[in-house]
């Protein structure tokens, strides 16, 4: 798909994670690294607060050295640098922007600001088998819940999104209500899965918010209130807790799956791509695969490391953008962030 070999360094610092990667347009992803909390604990000792871990400054340079060394390349080999320009936390974004601007200036190579969600939308193309354009993307994480029609690079149409809480956020907060800690989304899913296999006797029914709203928008805020109401009415035993976890997960998965299928029907497309951390949810995967099969559609799930925030998707999006950008537009003086930035505001959407 690319004519000239290009080596792109990608830097993602939009929120809590620091992600860096090297993408070669001929050889693919050469190396990538993500600063996770577990690594941080071993390096600094003790518990580091989640948001203090947003101290990207300390992490980004060692990480870049690490991936250069892992790939056996030099800074001088880079053809371009791509960084997450937004949306995200302004202070966090500035770290990636300033490192990129400095490196770009020093190496005299182009610097590209990438939209965080564009990175997520294109990340499935890093997997094998990869979907081909066009496809519908369900982007579902702690910070986002959106359905997008992806017709090509820069050709994104928002089909629907959450009007309040993101699905992952609803998972984490409901887990907290159920006494599973925060963020406890994965713990809630585990509890729900165990409950199904436990020969349960209890069953709760929760609403399916906006299932029949006639559009492709979501609302998950009311579900945690619904769980809270259940908790006030019932004695909390391990069995009721499991039943509530199951009911909650079933409600979220049902709505996500139904709306995703509706998006396929509306666009007439037959490929669904699931990106974002909630894409790891087993019940969501099973339900989507089952329902898609019934209508002859295919579902793609990127590897989990590309589902969550990562540098690879930014390096990859940057490489694709480099191929589409004319030489005179390749700038070395980019130093911009957009903390609030709708993907459709890029002016590149259909």
């Amino acid at each position: 798909m690319f004519s000239h070999p290009l080596l792109v360094l990608g830097i993602e610092t939009s929120c809590d994670e620091t992600g860096v990667a090297l993408y070669d347009t001929h050889r693919g992803l050469l190396s990538h690294a993500l600063y996770s909390q577990s690594e941080m604990h071993s390096e600094y000792g003790g518990v580091v607060p989640e948001l203090a871990s947003r101290d990207h400054i300390r992490r980004v340079l060692p990480l870049i050295r690490q991936i250069l060394s892992a790939a056996g390349v030099d800074l001088a080999d880079l053809d371009a640098i791509a960084y997450t320009q937004g949306p995200g936390l302004a202070g966090a974004l500035l770290v990636g922007a300033s490192i990129s601007a400095a490196l770009g200036f020093a190496l005299n190579i182009p610097v590209l600001g990438i939209h965080h969600l564009e990175g997520h939308l294109l990340s499935p193309l890093l997997s094998k088998p990869a979907p081909a354009f066009p496809f519908v993307a369900l982007l579902v994480s702690g910070g986002h819940t959106q359905l997008m029609e992806v017709n090509g690079l820069g050709l994104y149409t928002l089909l629907g999104e959450t009007v309040d809480d993101a699905a992952g956020e609803a998972f984490d907060k409901t887990a907290k209500l159920l006494g599973l800690g925060y963020p406890g989304g994965p713990a809630l899913s585990k509890l729900a899965d165990e409950f199904v296999h436990s020969g349960h006797s209890k069953y709760f029914e929760l609403p399916r918010p906006m299932l029949h709203s006639g559009d492709l928008n979501f609302s998950f805020s009311g579900l945690k209130t619904a769980v809270l109401t259940l908790m006030h009415k019932h004695e909390m035993t391990p069995d009721t807790r499991g039943a509530m976890a199951f009911a909650f997960q079933e409600a979220v998965v049902d709505v996500l799956a139904e709306k995703s299928l509706a998006a396929l029907a509306k666009t007439g497309l037959t490929q669904l791509v699931v990106a974002g951390g909630v894409g790891a949810n087993r019940q969501l995967r099973n339900t989507l695969c089952r329902k898609a099969e019934q209508i002859g559609a295919t579902v793609f799930f990127p590897e989990f490391e590309f589902c969550t925030d990562n540098g690879a998707m930014i390096a990859f999006a940057g490489a694709m953008r480099m191929q589409e950008t004319s030489d005179q537009d390749k700038r070395t003086d980019v130093f911009t962030i957009n903390a609030r930035w709708d993907l459709e505001m890029q002016g590149l959407c259909t």
Binding site: C15, P49, E50, L51, A52, R54, D55, P87, G88, L89, A90, G91, G142, G143, E161, T162, V163, D164, D165, A166, E169, K173, K176, L177, Y182, S221, G222, K224, T225, V227, L228, H232, R340
Partner: protein, 168 residues
């Protein structure tokens, strides 16, 4: 905090519609420079109340939870309203690191959820709302801790007094 100036009142809300209606009523008394803290358990309706306030100010778009981003920014005509959520803070010093202090200025309204996670580092609130989950619906307790807050509270109290439009 001046305890002599401290006034408060409690109002019952029957459901989400009543929470939104209260938000709209609150919006009529707001002006730039006010700082409001919202307290209440997960699912109590803090963000719903903020949605009501924004609707009352004429903002028609989506009002999303700020938990993930820590802040949502709303610009309504010339007015800036910053909706903060510090739920994910584990340490008050993260507030300093996040660089949010500059948002608390005389030109904007700041509404803060989970201010308790930052403790004493935050500027003093003019108004503090406590949303309690009640038998049926919610009880909202509104405290005014400054002169500006007290003026707002008086105005709302007069508007809400004897009216049951909030609980249709």
């Amino acid at each position: 905090m001046h305890h002599s100036d401290h006034v408060h009142f409690t109002h019952h809300l029957s459901g989400e519609a009543a929470t939104l209606a209260l938000g709209a009523e609150i919006a009529t008394g707001l002006h730039p420079g006010l700082i409001i803290f919202l307290s209440g358990n997960l699912g109590a309706g803090k963000t719903t109340l903020v949605r009501g306030i924004l609707r009352g100010l004429g903002y028609k778009e989506k009002v999303k939870s700020p938990t993930y981003n820590l802040i949502e920014v709303y610009k309504i005509s010339k007015l800036y309203l910053y909706h903060f959520d510090f739920y994910r803070f584990e340490n008050p010093h993260e507030w300093e690191e996040a660089g949010f202090r500059e948002y608390f200025n005389t030109d904007s309204i700041c509404v803060v959820e989970w201010a308790e996670k930052v403790g004493g580092l935050l500027p003093t609130a003019d108004l503090r709302f406590f949303i309690h989950i009640a038998e049926a619906g919610r009880d909202v307790e509104i405290h005014a801790d400054t002169e500006a807050g007290r003026l707002c509270l008086k105005r709302w109290q007069a508007a809400l007094k004897g009216s049951d439009f909030l609980n249709p």
